[in-house]
Symmetry: C2
Subunit: 206 residues, 2 copies
Amino acid sequence: MLTKRERTRQSILDLAAALASEHGLASLSIGGLASTAEMSKSGLFAHFGSKEELQLATVDHAALIFRREVIEPAQSAPRGVARVWALLDGFLDYIERGVFAGGCFFATTSAEFKHRPGTVRDRIAEHLASWDAYLTRAVAQGQELGQIDTGTEARRIAFELKAFVHTAESHHELFGDARVFVDARDAVRDRIESLRPAREASNAAG
Amino acid sequence: MLTKRERTRQSILDLAAALASEHGLASLSIGGLASTAEMSKSGLFAHFGSKEELQLATVDHAALIFRREVIEPAQSAPRGVARVWALLDGFLDYIERGVFAGGCFFATTSAEFKHRPGTVRDRIAEHLASWDAYLTRAVAQGQELGQIDTGTEARRIAFELKAFVHTAESHHELFGDARVFVDARDAVRDRIESLRPAREASNAAG
């Protein structure tokens, strides 16, 4: 059970993550956030101390939301191709549902911080590396189960599949064209089908 | 032949595009740029008048550079698969050569402006739509020439191929891992091979 103080902190971070997904972390200010959250600046300062602490807390909060909305639902899918699909379909679903006001929080903030060395950049990169690792492990499990051909490295397959859903996100945020989600799901499905091992493919045909 | 005034303007815009590729367009200021370019603020103001005019001129200047570095070299390749490859290989090459200090100018600035409605956002979207259209037309020409299977729409194929090279760019800028360029080229080549029409494939085998 969260204390009142923790609940307040959560609400502030929900708001901060939504704002940062649209306009980036640099434009978050304790003053601006206090005014939007209808709190005193000193009240908000008591929670975060500095702009950098606020930014780091916002990044970690966004990672928890991403975990809850994309990773955890996929964990209930069977290992292998079903989980790979659940991760990528879940990612697109998370964009379509507008979990963050500005699309993927990590797309906005990684582009913003890519050339700003420091702890905020490192934290963003850490969470993105963890998403890459999770997706790669899911593909590797599909290979161990004989559902995905082992002729291509799991890392490379994960890169291709991730590329489809990330590019759909950025295209959608810029052009507002929802057809790109159909394209991305078709691309993911076709790529997974193309990687079905010959034996499994002939079983399916027989 | 450029006048001195035009040459000065070009140098300022080269600098502005490099800075914006790293840190975005919002952080460009006439004062800051004047100081980096060792010009007077009033001298720089005479070229651009307002921050928005400076931003628009920077976007258009970056588009000219992109055209010169990626589109024009590919125009010398034969139509069809060779030109599709030249565009995507050329895009990766443009990132590897560090044409802009911060990776792809349009990756940084489209993430920055995606939720800031206005003329700057519209101009960025226009240039990106033109890159999409150019790539889609190159794929469609490959289909007309019988080099690319027509079972999948040119638009969808262009989306997939673009996804590989754009994702390589963002991954490289964040993680500094050049292996991703190998992955992206392999992914593009394998996808193009997988789209070879049955007749052409059997000719090649024979």
